[in-house]
């Protein structure tokens, strides 16, 4: 690996990001740091990123440290990202759970790295649009993310035009969103199903209900194998034998933990616990 060709302390940056989020910053990300942290440098009044990081390094952990760490996370997301997971949700997972959970009339769905909330909103739209039979059920879509700024955005339910332009069918836009100036706000019929809180997947998990469906998409990819293993292992206790775990296109449980089996949906694989008799 090349020595970092920049004057600021990339190793320190890497270390705090790793400590707080488990995210492993690739050496190439050194070029992104300047752009991503620029606004924080300006707000802090520091002369440069080099100065800012030097100052932070000598100070006890505080709000600016936290902002720096959050700014280095990749929050990219979109409505109905990759399409096929939502097809599987609509055509197979929800119809199946509609029958299996009919006695409790309750569904818990978790968007475990929710970013700005598009994933949770897409799940809510699939339900509202296709499952009137679930109307009287207690349905909770929990969204969690490590970044406070993202959790606040999720709670606001406000999306910019360039965000609603991506992946969201126009019919859903006019049906489920209100226009507010240049932004679009999720209607209560969706937001009432959703709940958001801050949570670090790589730290201790709070008490959460057992989940029927978990979207853990496009976040494991940033972690090292040990962290992936810890999270996937912990996830086992969150799932019932017939619950589904959905990962991102470049993510898998294979060669990390042995407790999941793949369930083949068209153009998309989900995961389920292997031992299907342990917990009914």
């Amino acid at each position: 690996m090349l020595a970092s060709p920049v004057s600021f302390d990339f190793d320190y940056l890497r270390r705090i990001v790793r400590e707080k989020t488990a995210i492993v910053l690739e050496a190439e990300k050194v070029y992104l740091a300047e752009a991503k942290l620029g606004p924080i440098v300006r707000r802090s009044g520091s002369a440069s990123l080099t100065d800012l990081l030097r100052d932070l390094r000598s100070q006890p952990w505080g709000a600016t440290h936290q902002q720096v760490v959050e700014a280095m996370t990749n929050n990219e997301t979109s409505f109905f990202r990759d399409l096929y997971p939502y097809e599987a949700l609509k055509n197979r997972m929800l119809p199946e759970l509609l029958t299996k959970r009919a006695h409790v009339r309750e569904l818990n769905i978790w968007s475990a790295a929710s970013s700005s909330g598009q994933e949770a909103a897409s799940i809510a739209m699939v339900i509202r649009e296709n499952f009137r039979a679930l109307d009287g059920w207690k349905i909770r879509i929990l969204g969690t993310d490590i970044a406070a700024e993202m959790v606040n955005r999720c709670k606001e339910g406000l999306f910019a035009q360039h965000e609603v332009n991506r992946g969201l069918p126009a019919q859903y836009l006019v049906k489920y969103f209100d226009r507010v100036g240049l932004h679009w706000r999720l209607k209560p019929i969706l937001s009432e199903m959703m709940e958001f809180r801050q949570m670090n997947l790589s730290a201790l998990w709070p008490n959460l209900p057992t989940m029927d469906i978990v979207f853990l998409r496009n976040v494991l990819i940033y972690f090292d194998v040990d962290t992936k293993r810890t999270i996937l292992t912990r996830m086992k206790s969150m799932l019932r034998p017939d619950s589904y775990l959905l990962l991102g296109g470049a993510e898998t449980t294979l060669n990390i933990v042995d407790d999941y089996e793949r369930v083949d949906f068209s153009k998309f694989d989900a995961y389920r616990l292997k031992n299907r008799s342990s917990k009914a």
Binding site: S78, F80, L83, Q161, H162, V164, N165, R166, G167, P169, A170, Q171, L173, V174, D178, R179
Partner: protein, 126 residues
């Protein structure tokens, strides 16, 4: 795959053309609804039309209405690409038979997403 690009702005047509080309479309351009309708009538072998709203000589909405009256064009997928962003306008266009709607300014990824939603094979993201 062939696409008709309907927009009175040369610059917008140029951008759309290069995005569509990259995805694998052959493109034909028209600078108004009337011109587009003329091209379609001469040669109906288009799978897709990207249509602006505000244009002289038949606007995009009128174009959609006109196209949806002709059964030969029934399989044409229409994506509105416009700076009209009112809920009423979007609803009106969809009800008239536009298949999808994209608000300007747009990105390449947004176009790809919409085309994928319309059932086109857009390949993998670069």
């Amino acid at each position: 795959m062939r696409a008709l690009i309907v927009d009175d702005s040369t610059a917008t047509r140029f951008i759309l053309k290069s995005i569509l080309k990259e995805i694998g479309f052959a493109t034909v351009e028209a600078n108004s609804g009337a011109a587009a309708l003329h091209k379609l009538t001469e040669d109906s072998h288009f799978e897709l039309a990207l249509v602006d709203w505000n244009m002289p000589e038949m606007n995009g909405y009128e174009f959609v209405v006109a196209v949806r009256q002709v059964s030969t064009f029934a399989s044409l997928r229409i994506l509105m690409v416009t700076s009209e962003t009112d809920v009423e306008q979007i609803t009106k266009a969809i009800e008239a038979g536009a298949n999808e709607y994209l608000m300007k300014p747009f990105t390449k990824d947004a176009i790809r997403d919409k085309l994928q939603m319309l059932g086109f094979d857009v390949g993998t993201h670069a």
